[in-house]
Symmetry: D2
Subunit: 406 residues, 4 copies
């Protein structure tokens, strides 16, 4: 038995997998909102590591506000160009000056750290986007109002106190439709793109399931320098369609239709052609926290937190920690305990208490046929307890870039 306030209860709805209509969406890596999420989180990791390297502990910061203003471009078969650069403003708070107990002063180059993180992130994931000319990156990091946080240091972590009432929610297992949407994007933006450079990073996937039929709608930016004409373009679109169909069929036995770039009109020449691989080059603005939740998906059928996870300080931002942790807990539980068809973990913080002692930690389950909640209650509870006890591990993994936030 644990002292933590953990409840395991049946949920008062069907498993999402069993609901009649299911909608799932993922904004891929190159969607303007995801670009902002990715940069905000890179900046956060870079700041945390800089603080650890220099001061030995993570100081106060929060960089969860990046704004992208779209540029304009003139894509063309064989290679077009950016006409007006994308503008991206990194916004947030960071401790620039610090004096430790020994009186040693530190001036932390928070803004150059942030710019380098953005440059490196863009360089790694957006090969077609020239940093500084196709995209202008500026930064405004003010001093925060918050107190210093010294809870996470090289010597080890102590569990911080919750300083806000906040809420995190996680789910497991993913439904088939969710897995299709998530994996299709990840594999398109991973191995598939490596072999098919014409596939841009801006991939948006919508999954809609009605009963046993799944429609997967993919919008994928094609990079103009790799396609010489309409025939090439159509080949690329068809290639994506086939690839995603294969991904889907590997995950579900339901019938699946995959639709790619449905807004195209070949006769009008209206196609989704880009120079840089993202719609940010032409008219689509973006910002942090407007897209995927911490598990990488937008799932209207499930409880979601409004919290923007990317860019938040992983040492003390309770919303970030609880959203990531509840997802981790849910996944651990379903991988270790049989008989769970749907699980929702919710963590609600309690101001002034250590964050490993939430006000409520509730696990709502839909059990498989023949399994009773009582059969698994203790096992679930023990895993929740164990994971809560290990809460600072979330912080470490975020700083090390082992956890995705969007």
């Amino acid at each position: 038995m644990t002292e933590r306030n953990i409840r395991v209860e049946p949920i008062d709805r069907y498993a999402v997998e069993d609901q009649e209509v299911e909608i799932v969406e993922r904004k891929g890596l190159g969607h303007p909102d995801s670009i902002c999420d990715g940069i905000a989180e890179s900046v956060s990791q870079a700041l945390a590591r800089t603080y650890l390297d220099r001061v030995g502990k993570v100081l106060h910061y929060n960089t969860d506000e990046t704004q992208l203003v779209a540029g304009s471009a003139a894509p063309a078969f064989g290679g077009g160009e950016v006409i007006e650069p994308i503008y991206l403003l990194i916004v947030g708070r960071a401790t620039k000056h610090y004096v430790d107990e020994d009186g040693t002063e530190y001036n932390i180059p928070t803004e150059t750290v942030a710019l380098r993180a953005a440059r490196d992130y863009l360089g790694e994931y957006f090969p077609e986007l020239e940093f500084g000319t196709d995209i202008v990156v500026d930064v405004k990091l003010g001093e925060g109002s918050g107190d210093l946080q010294e809870v996470f240091s090289e010597e080890g972590a102590t569990v911080p106190m919750a300083n806000d009432t906040s809420f995190g929610v996680g789910h497991a297992p993913l439904t088939e439709t969710e897995r299709i949407v998530l994996e299709a994007e990840r594999r398109l933006n991973g191995p598939y793109a490596a072999d098919n450079p014409a596939v841009g990073q801006d991939i948006k996937i919508m999954g809609k399931r009605e009963g046993d039929h799944v429609d997967i709608t993919v919008a994928v930016a094609i990079v103009d320098s790799y396609v010489e004409g309409m025939a090439d373009y159509i080949d690329e679109v068809e290639g994506v369609r086939e690839f995603v169909t294969d991904v889907a069929n590997g995950i579900t036995d339901r019938t699946v239709d995959v639709h790619v770039n449905t807004a195209d009109d070949y006769d009008e020449g209206a196609i989704y052609l880009t120079t840089t691989g993202t719609s940010a080059e032409q008219g689509d603005d973006g910002s942090v926290g407007r897209g995927n939740r911490a598990n990488g998906l937008i799932t209207p059928n499930r409880s979601m937190s409004m919290e923007a996870t990317s860019g938040k300080n992983p040492v003390n931002h309770i919303g970030k920690i609880y959203n990531l942790l509840s997802t981790e807990i849910a996944e651990s539980v379903v991988s270790e305990v049989d008989g769970i068809r749907d699980l929702r973990i919710r963590l609600l913080s309690q101001i002034g208490r250590p964050i490993d002692e939430p006000h409520v930690a509730d696990a709502h389950v839909v059990t498989a046929d023949g399994v009773d909640v009582a059969d698994i209650e203790d096992d679930v509870s023990a895993i929740v307890d164990r994971e809560l006890a290990d809460v600072t591990e979330i912080t470490r993994r975020v700083i090390d870039g082992e956890l995705t936030t969007f």
Copy 2:
């Protein structure tokens, strides 16, 4: 019977009012995220009206991306000052040049219209915030990639086609906790603030109900020029506590505790004192779509759309329209049909079809004791049908500022 695809079904969960734990949050008018929502929506309305006045129809625009970068301030009893101004960047797309069928050319001053809308909005709701000196407002409105939309003109409206797969969700009736949170903020920021100028606009309210006990936690920025010392400050905090307690007791018979500015530490002098009435003056950044949903609340117990409603074009942005419309429908249904304890309306668009013919319009109900879904199905269905037929009325009301979006 209707040709629209309307379904009325039982929902597979308890009414939120009957769930064991309920969490509700509202970021008030002066929260940095809400400031962005409010300005984005004002800019949108101003642009729509400008287009109607000049061109006779609403042209393409989208202004749902405002970024606020916090300033710094030195509040002090009797009146402090802003040290570094807040920076606010209005971002979006708008049609700047238009030629109508007769060849008449129009140059639309979209950026000055946006700046004036922001100035007027701030002037109306933030009396302590000097425009241009306490807050610098800049604007970047690019040309969009979208086609012109001519569906909404002075002569009347035609129903536009959906150009995206999008989703809206609305709920009614509000639970007691939701009503307390929503009304408390609105009345604090309305009549109460009119009598108590020390109460700033940045009011954040969290409601947590466990069974039959409700905790309401209020964080309210106190304006320094109206409080001469700690005693005044404490009076103001106590006044808010009493007022919110009265509001709550007028709504529920459950037991209610109201907590105001719980992070204050009078001994340390650490209190929530501001010069301008918003935490944007010191360290809290903000952006659009990160806070309240279209119904003014954040409700983890309910399905929510991630869509940022504020600032979007109300003529053709299907996500904005469906979120507002589904909320309107839900409210109409529960006001006209007896026996509904909880109602969720979901609208899913169908690309290429008129937006009054959604792919799915489903009404999920929890009926009151003794009422069967079958008893009310036809009534509900008829109201959904009627409201969908009147979809362009949503557009008109948004443009006229009759509907709130956050």
Copy 3:
């Protein structure tokens, strides 16, 4: 005799008044470069006064870098509008945080002080330009690298040391052409504009004298809301021409031709019509120090300093002080000593010496017929000495706004 190194010598050229060709130019108050000069200097004065009020002495700052980016406008008879706002960025250095000898800490709101100064300056001189909507004013004031300067305080001034090798030059008396150019602009932008609101602030005057004929070319922005049509416009232009002709004839007996808005082409409708009274509204950028020298004129026939005077710290910026002081000295000398046809005062600083002891102070004179340099040498020298001794008075007068810098 004085200890200062003062030389009085004949100049090795004719008096400018007697040269065959003379060119003079003045960019009036509303020229984009002058707008920047004016704002930079207002910001400087406001900061100096703020430091004096709060800390009792002027701290380190320098605000001589304002950049104006032109907007776009659609002027029209009867009243047009600004389409894209002017953007103005105030740049410089200022001390934001200060601890005095007693340990008292001061946080100086340098950025809000700067913004207010800009707002007030624009409000006073540019009635047609709406602050914050027709012109967006932003500010970037960094901390400087300079040491604190404590030389100018409420209790009185001590003479600072020169920390740079710098140079100032002043001339007197003005030639007739110079006086015409200077007075015409000042009176147009003063009493004449008060009676003729159609006359905008952007007035550029070029004077060219060849022998005894003077051509005055005036470019004056006409404000559209005060002219109903071409006839009104032509009346305004003609009015300016007559007024400037009268000004000129009151100053010189030479023949004078006045040309106003010579680039106009009435048939083509190409005229100098503006909505706000300045060409900054449409395509003309501006910055500090690019226009008038400290005496208000651009005089290629005379020695000029490249130093931007506006916005510099008047306590310790040796270039600013010496340019203003040498002009003051020159004017004092010619008003007190008869027989001087042309006088140039040059001051060259000596690093590490008090600024009232320049390395060189030389007075180069062209004497009137019958006067010898030896006749006036002692008088000139005494005045130079007296004025140098009173150098801190320049600082006081700059801070009090009694001296113009452009």
Copy 4:
């Protein structure tokens, strides 16, 4: 005889070489004002070349307004770092959209062209300054108000009409002091820096000659990563002193003292150490046209034009063309005609006339002993005439980067 209005006359002053006191200054390549000049001119050249490549002629543009806002840095022996990046805003006008006579449309990527030019310029001359992280470069290029200029095309150039009254002035030969200042900086920033990477680009040289003694004062930013301690620093300073002394002694037989980094205080550790080689990293802002004139020098002893030459359109900006051309003429004359001790060429434009027919072209000479103006008048006049006839060659050379502008 020529039809051009060319006058050759004695000047009414001594040759500058023979004046008692002479002051000369040069702001080297890495001075914040020169960085702006250099970028403005690179952007101009890049735009001109882009227009020629794409449209076949140079379209309207003007990019003579770049603003640099200093960063902050923490230099340290062995290598410090930039704390807050430098911010540089490229400002100007450029034609973004053009339709030629055949109806072909062109969208010119003026902003990305400008950013690339800035990146390449910084990359070439500032190896220690990381583009995009040590320095953030942003751009605001509006559409201009000007008419299109089609005078300079691939097929050849026609002489444009002057559209403004403007003035250019050039001098030759340089005095010894001027040559020392100019050559010392160029050789320090050229071969010397190639061998001595510790020498930063920010080199400011002031020359003061009194009679036959010349003082050369050099302020040179030392790059921290190449100096391990104070001894190294002192070596570098001494090396510069010796090098400049050699340069000076190679040019003049007068006595010369060279002073380097005179503000240093080794005991206090107050030295001119930088991380990037420019004072822009810490506290020194900059803008275009505030430093060197077109001949690379600031020469208070000579007539100077206030015109900012860098960044202006070389096809039709009369001030730029005349300043460069008058300098070229002066140099040609003194290289081809013997007996000239000092020559000043002035060109004054005449609105509405071809620019090769100035209103006045006057050559003011100080002849060598035994030479009379009349002896050389025809030769001088012929060269002036020849060079004026070839005015469009100036445009070509500017576009090809063969002429320096600062």
